[in-house]
Symmetry: C2
Subunit: 459 residues, 2 copies
């Protein structure tokens, strides 16, 4: 792919604005893709952005504006003339409009909605009420509706006259008088059929639809499972109210993945871009889990207190605590990550719990044995090379460390593999059962094993 040199165009635009060379500006703007323009506008000052928006055609201005980062959009809005803003918004597609209203201050939104035609005003208010991550909030109303009795030729004419403003014309929806969905058919099917064919005969009645209240994650799964490009959305009375298209689903998938990454690192999930988020907001999203985990870690401390006699008699045992705790934590994180991801992708379900248990048990033995052998070998080697320095590496200590390593890795694998499934069973989000929490649990268990074995073997 040939990349446009964004930096170069950015500099040129800034220079042309400074020179007030509007004629040249117009032609540079006309030559540049709206996506690239949106990226460039993000690096311009709000005043510069507004000058350029005024020089663009209304529909391209709306497209660029819809694609700015949230921060840039807010900056532009605060400097723009209300009437001009209203003109841009009129040109925006319905779902972009809704997204925009959702992120702007309530009183501005109120004034803007007041400018819309009454029919649209009602619709906008209805859409703003759909819960944040529901199918209703994702959908757009701009779809092609056909009737069963039309011929292919009549349908193509209808598409020709209605289609310009629609989000997609590639899937058409066949509705009855009460807006119930009777069938769907692709533009492909229409174009490849004879002119005289009747829609009712060539439409498909095998319809995958979603409800306005369905969660976006569920909708994304349906898209992936059925390889959909778009899906109809129906209300409580099964009347068609809108469509969701695959580009919105791509965004949902990325957002859901981002949330999972965050939860798995013990961060309260959020859509905010890292660089845009304030320090206090970022800190707030992290502190709660850090506190919970810190308090939980005091449990490991109390185990150490309980076995302080053992430690004071064989101080060398302290030296291996980081190694044991880290290895157990890492082994557990590996298992929980694979299982959480497998569940997110629908590869692992509740009913597979025994398969996971059995697999992790065996993987734990293989990995645990490998680590224990390497560790034992390393300790023996050290005493051979420098017996004086490592005089307190007695056979009892070496066996204690290696056996603990082995056992804690097996347990870490089992706990890491099963806790996400338990969470799902308890209707919690499996993603919280990831590295940080697993590590804290395994730490305590490893220490108990460690001191118990030490007690038996060394004294």
């Amino acid at each position: 792919m040939e990349e446009l040199n964004i930096e170069y165009v950015l500099d040129e635009l800034k220079r042309l604005i400074a020179d007030k060379n509007f004629k040249r500006l117009k032609s540079v703007l006309a030559e540049t893709n709206v996506m690239d323009l949106a990226e460039i506008f993000d690096d311009l000052s709000p005043d510069e952005s507004i000058i350029l928006l005024r020089l663009l055609d209304k529909d391209r201005a709306a497209e660029v504006f819809s694609r700015l980062s949230v921060q840039s959009r807010k900056d532009v809005v605060s400097g723009i003339h209300f009437n001009f803003l209203n003109q841009i918004i009129e040109e925006m597609s319905f779902d972009d409009k809704i997204d925009f209203f959702e992120e702007m201050p309530a009183n501005l939104v109120k004034s803007l909605i007041a400018e819309a035609p009454q029919e649209e005003r009602k619709l906008i208010n209805q859409f703003l009420q759909y819960p944040d991550s529901s199918a209703g909030s994702l959908m757009t109303i701009e779809y092609v509706a056909l009737k069963k009795h039309l011929t292919v030729k009549q349908s193509l004419e209808k598409i020709k006259s209605d289609g310009v403003d629609k989000e997609t014309i590639y899937t058409c929806y066949v509705l009855d008088e009460t807006r119930h969905l009777e069938g769907i058919l692709s533009l492909r099917r229409i174009v490849l059929s004879d002119d005289d064919s009747v829609i009712g005969d060539i439409m498909s009645t095998d319809i995958i639809s979603v409800d306005t209240s369905d969660d976006q994650e569920y909708v994304a799964e349906a898209f992936k499972k059925y390889d959909l490009m778009s899906a109809p959305v129906v209300d409580g009375e099964k009347r068609m109210v809108g469509i969701i298209t695959i580009d919105d689903i791509m965004d949902v998938v990325e957002r859901e993945n981002t949330e999972d990454f965050q939860k798995m690192a013990a961060i309260a999930p959020s859509d905010d871009e890292y660089l845009d988020a304030s320090v206090l907001k970022l800190a707030g999203r992290r502190i709660v889990w850090l506190l919970i985990l810190m308090i939980s870690a005091t449990f490991s401390g109390s185990i150490i207190t309980r076995y302080s006699d053992v430690l004071s008699m064989a101080g060398v045992l302290t030296v291996f605590m980081p190694l044991l705790m880290d290895s157990g934590g890492n082994a557990g994180s590996q298992s929980s990550t694979l299982v959480i991801r497998g569940m997110a992708l629908g590869e692992i379900e509740l009913k597979n719990w025994f398969a996971v248990f059995w697999k992790e048990l065996r993987v734990g033995f293989v990995a645990g044995a490998a680590l224990a052998v390497v560790n034992f070998g390393r300790m023996v080697l050290l005493t051979v090379i420098n017996g004086a320095k490592y005089a307190d590496y007695t056979m009892g200590v070496m066996i204690t460390v290696s056996v603990t390593l082995m056992l804690s890795i097996v347990l870490a694998k089992l706990i890491g593999g099963l806790l996400p499934i338990v969470a799902k069973f308890a209707r919690l989000d499996p993603a919280i059962m990831a590295g940080p929490l697993i590590t804290t649990i395994i730490d305590a268990i490893s220490l108990i094993i460690y001191f118990t074995i030490a007690n038996a073997l060394i004294f």
Copy 2:
């Protein structure tokens, strides 16, 4: 969405197969969506699957077969008659065919390719040579090609006659005599234009194309950035060779995310589904990093050895090691996860390193202070409640633990935030600088801070 009751259909099919009720089987099969059938087939025995494949129309059989899990497909292939397999493969779309050949044993693939027409044989061999995650390996050759001089009416007729076998007809490609791409246009544009318009006049020359050698991650970024539904793929001489469609890109995005999850949990990345992978393979993918991290953790052990005097004089310090190590590790994981994800989504770039530094420094102070205050309060409270039991919680110990907590969290945030950027700068994958590695590094640093402060404050 109304879910099909898969379990119910599965039971019915099994019963009908046992009863040899082929007539009823055919009608159940005809009523069920191919995606649902694929899911059902995954739970049938290979023999049952083969019986049902024979009862399906050839093209639906090919569709179901393409959508089976890799394991089911292998099972079916080993039991199926070669000629029947060949018939199914003939019906498969070109890119599904390539995917299938890539996963099957070499000698079977050789026999199957030998059955294909010569022209296709050449193409298949060419496609099998594209590197695994390149645009070439993702693309399909089934696209609609038009000529500049055609009218809309002529084009629609051409699409009508050629379109049936094409992966998508929604984007058409305008090629010159030497197959160089002159323009692209959507079926939408064609349908919405007058019959007499000439393709050359209505096509767009603003073309986003990718090279056969471009990496799939790069291609996915282009799709996301430009909201593409499909993209043309060109060879070294800029001749068009195929297209990539958005459904393949959805899979790429999910695979790339899965790889990132795995790398961030210190697992060698792999496409294998968890339940299908063998124990030895799973263990192999985890052991290398576990060993590396275990050996690295011995560095923390050597720090403890160096300060063993401090520990033997104030054994209570050992009690807080888990708390300090876990909190530091968690704080670092949070920062590295946010930055790695931000880089994967293109929100954070190398040039933002200072913004990340400055943000993490402040977040670190806020989070560190919060944890230190809570921890200090907790320790004071314990001595007030039970002075005898917590006699060794001296002011020196309490300050040492709290100040170490504060400092190690600030450092963890900085290191966690900056190491992924350093990795990217060094052309390494930022995802390796995640929780497990960061934790090991922070452990050592926390212990050094801990013992240094203890040395100064307590003795």
